[in-house]
Amino acid sequence: MLILITKRLSFMVMTMVVVSILLFLVLEISPGSVATKVLGQFASDEQKNIWLEQHGYFEPVWYRYIIWAGNFLTGELGVSHRFKVPVGDIMWPRLWNTAVLGFWTFALIIPASLTLGVLAGMREGSKLDRTFSIVSILTTSVPEFASAVFLSAVFVFGLQLLPGTSGMINGFDLTQLILPVLVLFLYDFGYVARMTRASMAEVMTTPYIRTAILKGLPYRQVIMKHALRNALIAPFTVIMLQLNWLLSGVIVVEFFFAYKGFGALLLEASLNQDIFVIEACAMVAVFVAVMTQTIADIGYTYLNPRIRFS
């Protein structure tokens, strides 16, 4: 177990290093273009050279990378040239907003998809199972921006029940959170539920479940005591990996509803070539993604007694 954790953690560190090198190369390989992005299109060559000199851009690439990575580790994220403030000051509040959005989404997805997935997987091929699989195909086929449009048309334009944007200009407002959470829920829910269903259906065909049923145990007990324990291992991993999907998903939803979150920040920064914000956001996103994968892997091993005790 300890060996596995060390192995996973070292892979995680390695991934972060490789990704940071790639990111650095893509965004900062040519100092001239960095200077143009920071100082703007109309800066003279002289100005650019002074700026580059001051910020150490005439050093060799590998040296610049080490300094850059060191700054990152100590939390020196640079200054956003668009907002003229340190990157951290903009990024951390935005990340918190996205965490709030993510929390509510998961609070809905986990109970709903596990319950439905287990119920459908318990009796493969039943009416409920067929209905469920068609509904989940339907929800995963509709892209997030499309379901955002459809839901807005119904609840904002048609019924006029909910606000159409989620800028939260006058402080936190729960009603502005409903539509973004619903859109994320619709897109992700089908996938998690389908995985749960598959896992449950597989467990139901195993010999030990057949034995439990044949020896006359009440069906309830077979499901609760024997089947669920094994059937819920796979969904655990899927849910953890879903965080990675969520990081992509929030970009669309935050952009559509003008929610001031992390994804929207990354998109704005990319469209405006706000280079240090892009770097910081990308590294944070990769860190979250790799971290959840590591937790998923370790958790999976821990939950699976066959691996834990071997």
């Binding site: 991934t15 990704v19 965004l27 509709v142 892209p143 921006f145 998109l267 990319s270 990769v286």
Partner: protein, 294 residues
């Protein structure tokens, strides 16, 4: 000799495909999916005949669906957008964009992914470790963030979209092909052709790949649907094809700020994308069901 072998293997794979198409008739879900896809393919092929207007022509801004346009004497069945372009014509022409770029990007991703997966699964050892590690690293990156950074840095163009999608999807395909190759490499017919002295390229392409096609075809359908979503999302975020081209995702982006007053401008392209993706997902489900039956 070699040609006759290729011909027979081609003939047998064609008949296998025909057989599965025949079997598909038993799955009504798959048939609905195939129908939806076929519908859009026909629309894309006959776009010049079907579209009532030039997709770039400016008729009359903010027309509601079903409004009569006096100047051309036609009814604008789906209305016009904020610049006054006919939405129906833009949807029809936009289907061409999607049906060219999505299969192209998926095809490129498959070409790269299959080669990597076969090399990793058949040769194993050093190849496998290196390729799998590279794949793991790429897959650990949140996809959309990868697309945004790549396209925002290198510029939005059809080619860059295809490259970005290939880069991000190939590792996933590699994993599937590798898994299949690991299983198939131990079969007797592979041993037989190794004894015959065939090159490993021949074995991978002629012995292993055709036998791995079943799961790959199902995966390709799902992936095509996903690539269509991706292209739509990029268009929606303003990172798709440059503006005047009729692109479904781009149409939603242009209509976004007006969606509360003129919802039809956004709803119609959204419905078009959703129906096409639904077609591929239903077809994949039907194929999976049929392939499990025999």
């Amino acid at each position: 000799m070699a040609t006759s072998e290729t011909v027979t293997s081609f003939a047998s794979s064609t008949s296998a495909v025909l057989r599965s198409v025949g079997l598909l008739r038993e799955s009504w879900i798959g048939m609905i999916g195939a129908g939806l896809i076929l519908f859009w393919i026909v629309v894309a092929l006959f776009a010049p005949l079907l579209a009532p207007h030039d997709p770039l022509a400016i008729l009359q801004p903010f027309a509601k669906p079903g409004m009569f346009h006096a100047a051309s004497g036609t009814t604008l069945w789906l209305g016009t957008d904020n610049l006054g372009r006919d939405i129906l014509s833009r949807i029809i022409w936009g289907s061409q964009t999607v049906l060219i770029y999505a299969p192209l990007a998926t095809g490129c991703a498959y070409a790269v992914g299959i080669v990597m997966g076969l090399a990793a699964g058949y040769h194993r050892g050093w190849w496998d470790t290196t390729l799998s590690r590279i794949g793991d690293i790429i897959l650990s990156f949140p996809v959309l963030i990868l697309y945004i950074i790549v396209i925002a840095t290198f510029g939005a163009s059809g080619l860059n979209i295809v490259i970005a999608i290939t880069f991000a999807s190939a590792p996933g395909i590699m994993r599937i092909v590798r898994g299949l190759a690991l299983d198939l490499r131990n079969r007797d017919y592979v041993a037989a052709s190794q004894t015959r002295g065939e090159t490993s390229f021949y074995i991978m392409m002629v012995e292993i790949l055709p036998n791995a096609r079943g799961p790959l075809i199902v995966d390709a359908c799902v992936r095509l649907g996903y690539v269509i979503i991706t292209i739509g999302v990029l268009g929606f975020l303003g990172l798709g094809l440059p503006p005047p081209n009729p692109d479904w995702g781009g149409m939603v982006n242009e209509a976004r700020s007006m969606a509360m007053i003129f919802p039809h401008m956004a709803i119609i392209p959204c419905a078009a994308i959703s129906s096409l993706v639904l077609g591929f997902n239903l077809l994949a489900d039907g194929l999976r069901e049929v392939s499990l039956r025999d």
